[in-house]
C-alpha cells in the first residue's frame, strides 16, 4: 500500500503524536545524566530536580530582596507590554488596512510607505527608539508595534482588496456610503482574518518583546532570561521558555476560539 493511503489505528496515531515529545525528553534526560556524571554542578542541562527547585524558587517563593514572586511579576510586566503592543497594532491594522483597502486616496498615499516600513528590520532601529522614546515602556511597546503592525496592515489591506468588487457595488445599490460600506460590509468580513493575522503575529511579537526587554528593563520574561543567561542558569531558562510557549499557545487557542464564537459564518465559508 502506498504511504499516502496508510490508515492509522487510533492508538497508533496517539502514540505517534506523543513520540517526538517523549523522544525529546528522553534525549534530554540522557544528555543531562551524562553531563552531570562528569560535572555534578553542570548548568547546561540541569537535572529535573534542579529545574523543579528553580521553578519553586521563581514562582512560589518570595524574592529575598523585593518580596515579589518573580515569575508572576515578570509575566505581568511582559503581558502588559505585549497586549499594549498587539492591541495598538491591531487597531492600526484595522483603521489603516480598511482605509487603504477601500479609499483610493489613502491607497495611493499609504501603500508604498507601509510596504517600505514593513521591510525595515525593527531591531536595527532600537537605538533611535530608545533615544526618541526613552528606556521606559513606550519604546518597548513601540518596538512591538513597528515590528508587527506593518505586516498586519498589509495583510488586512490585501484581504479588503480581495473582497469581490460585486459586494461593494451591491452595497452601493443598497444606498451605503463609504463609511457604511467600511462599517457594515468590509469590517465584519475582515475581522476573522484580522484575528488570524493576530495569531500569526504572536510569535514575532514575543520575539520583539524579549529583544526589547533584553536591552533595558527591571522585570519581564525576556529580562529574566537574559539576566540569568549571564550565569548559564538553564534551570531557570527552561521553565521560562516553557512558560512563554504555554502563554503563546494559549493565546493562539483563545483567539481562534474567539473568532469561531464571534464570526460563526467564517467557519462555514472556510468549509466550503
Amino acid at each position: 500500500m502506498r504511504l499516502i493511503n496508510q490508515q492509522l489505528s487510533p492508538p497508533v496515531a496517539t502514540a505517534l503524536k506523543f513520540a517526538p515529545f517523549a523522544l525529546l525528553v528522553l534525549a534530554y534526560l540522557l544528555g543531562s545524566a551524562a553531563r552531570l556524571a562528569e560535572n555534578p554542578n553542570d548548568k547546561l542541562l540541569p537535572a529535573l530536580s534542579s529545574i523543579a527547585a528553580a521553578v519553586d524558587l521563581m514562582a512560589f517563593t518570595p524574592d529575598r530582596r523585593t518580596g515579589d514572586y518573580l515569575l508572576w511579576t515578570d509575566t505581568w510586566s511582559s503581558l502588559k507590554r505585549l497586549s499594549a503592543g498587539l492591541g495598538i497594532s491591531t487597531g492600526l491594522a484595522l483603521i489603516i488596512g480598511i482605509g487603504v483597502g477601500i479609499v483610493p486616496f489613502l491607497r495611493a498615499l499609504l501603500v508604498p510607505f507601509v510596504n517600505f516600513v514593513s521591510m525595515v528590520p525593527p531591531l536595527a532601529l532600537l537605538p533611535i527608539l530608545f533615544i526618541s522614546m526613552g528606556l521606559g515602556e513606550t519604546s518597548k511597546i513601540a518596538l512591538i508595534v513597528i515590528g508587527v503592525a506593518p505586516i498586519m496592515i498589509r495583510d488586512l489591506a490585501q484581504t479588503v482588496l480581495a473582497l469581490p468588487r460585486e459586494q461593494i457595488v451591491k452595497a452601493e445599490t443598497l444606498s451605503a456610503s463609504s463609511w457604511l460600506i467600511a462599517l457594515r460590509v468590509v469590517l465584519p468580513q475582515v475581522m476573522p482574518r484580522l484575528l488570524s493575522s493576530l495569531r500569526l503575529q504572536l510569535g514575532p511579537a514575543f520575539l520583539f518583546l524579549i529583544a526589547a526587554e533584553a536591552i533595558s528593563a527591571d522585570s519581564g520574561l525576556g529580562y529574566r532570561i537574559f539576566l540569568v543567561r549571564r550565569y548559564l542558569s538553564m534551570d531557570v531558562i527552561f521553565p521560562y521558555v516553557a512558560w512563554i510557549t504555554f502563554l503563546a499557545a494559549s493565546a493562539d487557542f483563545a483567539i481562534d476560539r474567539l473568532r469561531r464564537r464571534l464570526f460563526p459564518w467564517s467557519e462555514l465559508e472556510g468549509g466550503r
Binding site: 457595488v169 456610503s177 457604511l180 462599517l183
Partner: protein
C-alpha cells in the same frame, strides 16, 4: 416617458472599442433580455447602466434625468455570485438595505423601527420562498436559495431598475425553472423595469418582453479592436407581455403558451426544499 434611454453610447478601454454607438429606449416596466456572444460587451453595458463605469461618449438617461455617476438605490443588481453578504444571515441580508438607508451613522436600526423593518423583511423573505431560513448564513443555502435571497435583498430597496447579470446561469435546470417563475411573478407585481444579461436564449425568450442581441458588425481579427459591438437584433416578444393587471400569467387561456412549465408548479410557491 421611458425608463432608460441610451443615446449614441460609446465605451472604449484605451484603443479597444467595446460598445459602438448604441442607441435605444427601454419602456417602463419592460423586461429586456440582453443576449450576445461572450465578450460582446453585454456585461459592460450592464456596468454602464449601474453607474459602476462611465460612458466614453454619449448619454444614458434614467426617467429623463442623466444617470448618476455611481451606483445607487434606484438601480438594484443581482450577480451570478457574490450578490449576498456572507457575514449576514438571511434576515440580516434582507434588512441591510433599508437599515443603511435610514440610519446613516451606524447602519443599524433598533427598537420599533427595527421591528417594523423585520416584519417587512420577513414578508419579502416569504415572497421569495425562504421562510424558515431567516437565521441561516448564505454558506448554508443552496445556489438557488442564495439567488432568491439576492433578489429579496435587492427588491427591499424598491429599485426603479433591476439589473441582472446572468443571475441564474450557475443553477441546475430544474431549479432554474422554479426561479424563473418567481422572477416573472416579481416583475409582474413590482413597479420596476428589468434589464437582464444572459447567454441563454431560451431564458431570454422565457422571461423577456424584449430581447436585444448585441454583436460585432465586423469580425475580421485586425478590425476587432477598432470596432465595438452594437445592436444586432431587437426583438419584441409577440404577443406583448405586460406587467401589472391582467397578464398572461393570470389568464388560464394563455397558460403554457411560451412556457413549458406545468401550471401547478408556479401557481403555488416554489418549494425551496426541492433545491439542494
Amino acid at each position: 416617458m421611458t425608463a432608460l434611454t441610451l443615446k449614441n453610447v460609446w465605451k472604449e478601454y484605451g484603443d479597444q472599442v467595446v460598445l459602438e454607438n448604441l442607441s435605444f429606449d427601454v419602456a417602463p416596466r419592460s423586461f429586456v433580455a440582453l443576449v450576445g456572444p461572450s465578450g460582446c460587451g453585454k456585461s459592460t453595458l450592464l456596468r454602464l447602466l449601474l453607474g459602476q463605469e462611465k460612458v466614453t461618449r454619449g448619454t444614458i438617461l434614467l426617467d429623463g434625468a442623466v444617470l448618476p455617476q455611481e451606483p445607487g438605490p434606484d438601480r438594484g443588481v443581482v450577480y451570478q455570485k457574490y450578490s449576498v453578504f456572507p457575514h449576514l444571515t438571511v434576515l440580516g441580508n434582507v434588512m441591510l438595505g433599508p437599515e443603511l438607508q435610514s440610519e446613516r451613522i451606524w447602519g443599524r436600526l433598533f427598537g420599533a423601527a427595527r421591528r417594523n423593518l423585520k416584519d417587512a423583511a420577513q414578508l419579502m423573505i416569504a415572497e421569495v420562498g425562504l421562510s424558515g431560513s431567516e437565521d441561516k448564513y448564505p454558506a448554508q443555502l443552496s445556489g438557488g436559495m442564495q439567488q432568491r435571497l439576492a433578489l429579496a435583498q435587492a427588491l427591499m430597496m424598491k429599485p426603479r431598475v433591476l439589473l441582472l447579470d446572468e443571475p441564474f446561469g450557475a443553477l441546475d435546470p430544474g431549479i432554474r425553472t422554479d426561479i424563473h417563475q418567481l422572477m416573472k411573478r416579481l416583475w409582474n407585481e413590482l413597479p420596476m423595469t428589468v434589464v437582464m444579461v444572459t447567454h441563454d436564449l431560451r431564458e431570454a425568450f422565457t422571461l423577456g418582453t424584449r430581447v436585444v442581441a448585441l454583436g460585432r458588425t465586423r469580425d475580421r481579427p485586425e478590425e476587432a479592436a477598432r470596432y465595438g459591438a452594437s445592436i444586432a437584433k431587437d426583438i419584441e416578444i409577440w404577443p406583448p407581455r405586460k406587467a401589472g393587471g391582467d397578464t398572461i400569467f393570470q389568464s388560464e387561456y394563455a397558460l403554457g403558451w411560451d412556457d413549458l412549465t406545468p401550471h401547478g408548479a408556479f401557481a403555488g410557491r416554489p418549494d425551496p426544499s426541492t433545491e439542494t
